[in-house]
Symmetry: C2
Subunit: 339 residues, 2 copies
């Protein structure tokens, strides 16, 4: 494996001028409920299929983000998005509804930061003015596709995670009011041979650590340069492993708050979510809904969001392959902070 430059610098300091988050009932019952723009009381959103419900989550988040950014729909120039569904179909249909130039991306649950990184590069390069980064996941579509339909009521081990139902969207622009996307570190695949799809946290933890280390090396920073370093969806098991691996790797994590979106979005002790949350929308709704509000309030100055993704397919699992994992990190800071 190569040790090199994995970090993109956005020297023109693109700004997130608007975000929106839409979630389902379980996330609305969690500790961050007040931070989400729209909480649906039912999982089906009164749609005829789970897939249609997932698509609607993203369409609502996109619409709301455009409104909150104070731009017209016709001012949106590009849309970068992806999700967990085969052929990222939820994003395709949402992009059809929006009718703007569209780049589909796939990084499983790391899609949130992959799309934000690419959107920021488009804006930073001057090739786009208003670019939307969006992602979504739905508990029932993900269970149906990757494991068993929820209607079967199958049991899960405590290492399993609970795919969150939600969508997050952010609009990046060359200037305006909002937090700045400072740089992004693109991850490489890390696969230490874990094969259990009910233990994604353990599979993904080494990828998160690899990207955090690459980011710190590339930027010459230490964890203390961030008020918070937050992984996407490692949950209880993966967070413990990542903490341990960083310690062994000599990364002084006690200088900063090391957290995980999958542990923040639910009350893991009270809600029946096994080890914690997961899914494309996990890091998206926590970052766009909760963390950016804390930046706005001045409680956080600079954060590193390390979205983690398990890139398995049901077929690769059936064929006995291990789970290739990845993590993409984006540094977001208050507008007044100078690099």
């Amino acid at each position: 494996m190569k040790k090199g430059k994995q970090t993109w610098w956005f020297e023109n300091r693109p700004v997130i001028i608007g975000t929106a988050t839409v979630v389902g009932p379980d996330e609305g019952d969690g500790p961050l409920a007040a931070d989400f723009d729209l909480v649906h009381p039912e999982l089906d959103l009164q749609q005829k299929s789970w897939e249609k419900a997932e698509r609607l989550l993203l369409e609502q988040a996109s619409d709301l983000a455009i409104k909150k950014a104070g731009i017209g729909k016709d001012e949106l120039e590009f849309y970068v998005g992806g999700d967990l569904m085969n052929q990222i179909i939820s994003n395709t249909f949402a992009a059809r509804t929006l009718g703007v130039p569209y780049l589909g991306v796939f990084g499983a649950c790391s899609t949130s930061m992959e799309s934000l990184a690419i959107a920021s590069m488009i804006v930073n390069s001057g090739n786009g003015k208003h670019v939307l980064a969006g992602t979504c996941s739905h508990n029932c579509t993900a269970e149906k596709q990757f494991r068993y339909p929820t209607e079967y009521g199958s049991q899960k081990p405590p290492t399993a995670q609970y795919t969150i139902t939600g969508a997050g969207a952010a609009i990046v622009a060359p200037a305006g009011s909002g937090p700045v996307v400072e740089c992004a570190t693109i991850g490489r695949i890390v696969d230490l041979g874990v094969k259990d799809p009910f233990n994604m946290g353990a599979a993904m933890a080494p990828a998160a650590v690899d990207t955090i280390q690459a980011h710190l090396t590339d930027t010459g920073r230490s964890p203390g340069d961030y008020d918070m370093i937050v992984t996407g969806d490692l949950a209880t098991v993966g967070h413990r492993i990542a903490t341990d691996l960083l310690k062994r790797g000599g990364v002084p994590m006690e200088q900063t708050v090391f957290a995980d979106c999958g542990l923040m979005v639910y009350d893991v002790d009270r809600q029946k979510v096994q080890a914690g949350g997961s899914g494309c929308a996990c890091s998206a709704v926590v970052t766009y809904g909760h963390l950016l509000k804390r930046i706005e309030k001045g409680e956080l100055k600079r954060i590193l969001v390390v979205a983690t993704g398990a890139l398995l397919s049901p077929l690769s699992f059936q064929q006995g392959e291990s789970i290739p994992c990845i993590a993409h990190a984006v540094s977001i800071e208050r507008n007044e902070v100078q690099p």
Copy 2:
């Protein structure tokens, strides 16, 4: 639908310093056989599954492209790729083998130009030096996933297309010897309601036309500014529809050669490929294997490759949805041509 600026300009003129193409037996039996770097005599590449064979095609194309570019494996900085498989698993495994920072993308058969556009933007922005754009498809994995396993021997209507078995990879760099990636036009979703997965050409043709028109509007050019405008995989049916739509739209296509990679890769009259070729690798192997060689020889000065993609999933088809389509266009020219 918005009429606006869909085109990215690469003012630093990134260069394709190396490409490679690997194909299967049917493509090796076609008119472009001599242009491919490696022709496999058997469909299974002596692997245990079609999926492993598809992955190997891409790994071989990536390795060869690196060699032909004259760089070391450790000089490759980013890898942008995608394919038709659920969770783009062929690219994920190839990226695991390469071990470099990886961005997964999905645009169905438009992935070839989507990945080349993003790779060129990374290089153009100075955030990467050697970036690989790769894609692959395999007839038997695609049939199995989207229609029926080929072992069933099911019949197909003449409007159906034949997914090509192959992989194409290109390495983009800030300077060097090779054709220049001048600009890229990102497509939006066009869906006129076609629901028949055995008639992708008809579904995709309007998307190709939409992107060609957007490109000409954005650049202020006419078709005559290109020696060739080539679509990805419209095949017989779609090519006829696109030609007709362009004529009706007042685009003077007789000024240039309007061709289709799906019609170039096979001898459609002789080979049993129904309406012609399709698949992620279709435009990739024709562009990287054949067209860039013609540019190198001086037979072509500037071409526009309009890779077309049908973004359906088997599930969206089963749920009665129509087929959302997209096309991404990349303009490639000889190094001496000034913009």
